[in-house]
């Protein structure tokens, strides 16, 4: 009988990774999305393309460059040095940084679309009603962009849970540190532990289905920026 306690570690790691990544991406992705939606700078689409790169880059290319950045000779190594380490590669923190990069377009794009769909007018109205730009952003733009935030959060979370190639390259397969679900399943298959693989994969299937279903139902109820 497979030892179920073993299975808990990848699940916990995956949930932690996806949650932290999603929160970080909402925090840094929202200003980026807002800027992309509203800026009239000529080089705006250059920034947009950079953000969207992970959509088209082969995961191993992304993984390679992330390894360089996170490794002992890159900025990651310098940061790790502050905490007594050598490199951010093959650490949970490194995984978070990598996940932020490769899931960014999945969070930024829906939020950007939502801000663009709002248009200029509601924010102009807010300004004529004495709202400062900061106030207008929080009291008008954010509530009206709610569907975009919902979609971005769910997509970012789901994509982080599902990523394999990049995670394997920069995280390795270290139990309790970087062995997330996708890597664990791969590992169990390689080591012919079909029981474990069945449980994890089946669980992932059910979980994903429930998430999609819930998102679609919630989208109907909460997705529209109305009352």
């Amino acid at each position: 009988m497979p030892d179920l306690a073993d299975l808990w570690s990848p699940i916990r790691l995956t949930l932690a990774l996806a949650s932290v990544t999603t929160v970080v991406l909402i925090l840094i992705g929202t200003p980026i999305a807002f800027w992309l939606a509203r800026s009239k700078a000529r080089w705006k689409e250059v920034v947009g393309a950079v953000v969207a790169l992970p959509l088209v880059l082969p995961p191993t290319v992304l993984g390679f460059y992330l390894l360089v950045v996170l490794g002992p000779d890159g900025p990651g190594g310098w940061v790790a040095g502050l905490f007594g380490g050598r490199s951010l590669a093959f650490t949970f923190e490194g995984l978070v940084i990598g996940s932020v990069f490769y899931s960014m377009p999945f969070v930024v794009q829906p939020i950007r679309n939502a801000f663009e769909a709002i248009g200029e007018r509601p924010l102009e109205v807010a300004v004529t009603l004495r709202a400062s730009p900061w106030d207008a952003f929080w009291s008008v733009a954010v509530p009206l962009a709610r569907p975009g935030f919902l979609t971005g959060a769910v997509l970012g979370f789901a994509h982080t849970v599902g990523e394999f190639g990049v995670v394997l390259m920069i995280g390795g397969n270290i139990p309790d540190e970087t062995r997330v679900l996708s890597v664990a399943i791969y590992d169990y298959v390689e080591t012919l532990q079909w029981g474990h693989a069945h449980i994890l994969a089946g669980g992932m299937l059910v979980f994903s289905f429930v998430v999609i279903l819930a998102m679609m139902l919630a989208g109907k109820r909460f997705g529209r920026p109305g009352l």
Partner: protein, 379 residues
């Protein structure tokens, strides 16, 4: 000593395919209309006054300077005490009507009732009481626009800017809203700048008019004077050219549903107007509805036969038409007739002439009462 009791605006810049260069003054009370055809820059000017667009220029509001390029001054739009009503109501979909109305009020707690209108008064003035808890999506176009006006008013502005507020509405809805706008005119002590391309709206609502065309000011002045001017044909449009007379209601004829009015000693009869005896109303008379005669006709259905003197004649060469300005009791009435008729009647300036206007020509749109309508729910 500079006159501080006006709004002074001057803006210059490019606007699409042509350049804009306009300077005008508006008084600190009443409705001043910015009038001109689509694309002439009137909306851009309004937005510059609100600070939503930025164009080179100066803007003074009474003693305050809101923009002065030479001094490097530009007051941010959210710091300008203006209310703005957009062409499409643009209510916030994520707030109820009440939430929309209070949005501006919540953010400006310093000036308490500076223009004298609190929440309940604004709601009553615009008749939006029954709508307060509804979502904006559940309102009709006219209701939304009234809420938009209320929302702008509740932010306690010192200047109200209205950008073609009726253009997006159909005719019956416009008629429904007019009395509310007229009531606003009577009740508010703050100035209103009203942008429109519809001379009918301007004639009914405005005290002063600034006429614009292709980014330039054509003329400005009191509405009655400017409308009399024949050289404004291209701006006012052939079919809608006309004048506005003010007349006092003398009596109502219930049997025939007519109203008798006095205009400088002459009687004008119109279909029944909703105005009390003794009140003054504005009559809009379109040039094409005016007939001229050198003899007083008899046996004719026209009810209004006014005596006047020809003041000015303008023939439109290469066309069939001419316009004649006739002085009727001190006010000008424009008549649009054919050059053939002009020649046939041998009209000359200073000739006495009879001005005939069908009572039917005064449709409901042409009769504007200066009394506010009763609020919804009143007996």
């Amino acid at each position: 000593m500079a006159d501080t009791a006006t709004i002074d605006a001057a803006f210059a810049g490019t606007l699409g395919s042509f350049s804009l260069d306009v300077a005008f003054e508006a008084p600190m009370q009443g409705i001043t209309a910015l009038f001109g055809p689509s694309g002439c820059g009137k909306t851009t000017i309004l937005r510059c006054i609100a600070g939503l667009n930025r164009m080179a220029g100066t803007l003074r509001f009474g003693a305050e300077t809101w923009q002065d390029d030479r001094a490097g001054a530009f007051r941010k739009p959210h710091k300008r005490p203006v209310g703005y009503v957009f062409q499409e109501a643009s209510l916030f979909p994520h707030l109820s009507v009440r939430g929309n109305l209070l949005y501006g009020a919540r953010r400006d707690s310093r000036r308490q009732a500076e223009n004298g209108l609190g929440f309940d008064e604004v709601v009553a003035l615009l008749g939006i009481g029954p709508l307060l808890e509804r979502a904006p999506q559940a309102l009709s176009g006219g209701e939304r626009q009234r809420v938009a006006v209320g929302r702008a008013l509740l932010s306690r502005p010192r200047l109200l800017l209205m950008d073609e507020p009726l253009s997006a509405l159909d005719h019956p809805t416009r008629e429904e809203i007019f009395p509310y706008l007229e009531a606003l005119h009577e009740t508010l002590s703050i100035p209103i700048l009203y942008v429109s391309h519809d001379i009918g709206e301007v004639a009914r609502l405005a005290d002063r008019i600034v006429v614009l065309a292709r980014g330039r000011k054509v003329t400005d002045g009191p509405v009655t004077e400017v409308l009399e001017r024949l050289d404004l044909q291209p701006a006012t449009g052939r079919f809608e050219a006309g004048v506005v007379l003010t007349a006092r209601v003398v009596s109502h004829d219930d049997a025939f549903r007519m109203t008798h009015l006095d205009h400088h000693g002459q009687t004008i009869v119109t279909p029944m107007a909703e105005a009390a005896v003794g009140s003054e109303i504005r009559l809009r008379i379109r040039a094409r509805d005016v007939v001229l005669a050198t003899q007083r006709p008899s046996g004719i259905s026209v009810r209004n036969i006014l005596k006047g003197t020809v003041a000015l004649i303008v023939e439109e060469r290469e066309t069939a038409f001419a316009e004649v300005l006739v002085d009727v009791g001190g006010a000008g009435v424009r008549a649009r007739i054919t050059r053939a008729a002009l020649a046939d009647l041998a009209l000359r300036p200073d000739m006495p002439v009879f001005v005939l206007v069908k009572s039917v020509a005064f449709d409901r749109r042409a009769l504007a009462g200066l009394q506010p309508p009763p609020a919804d729910g009143e007996e």
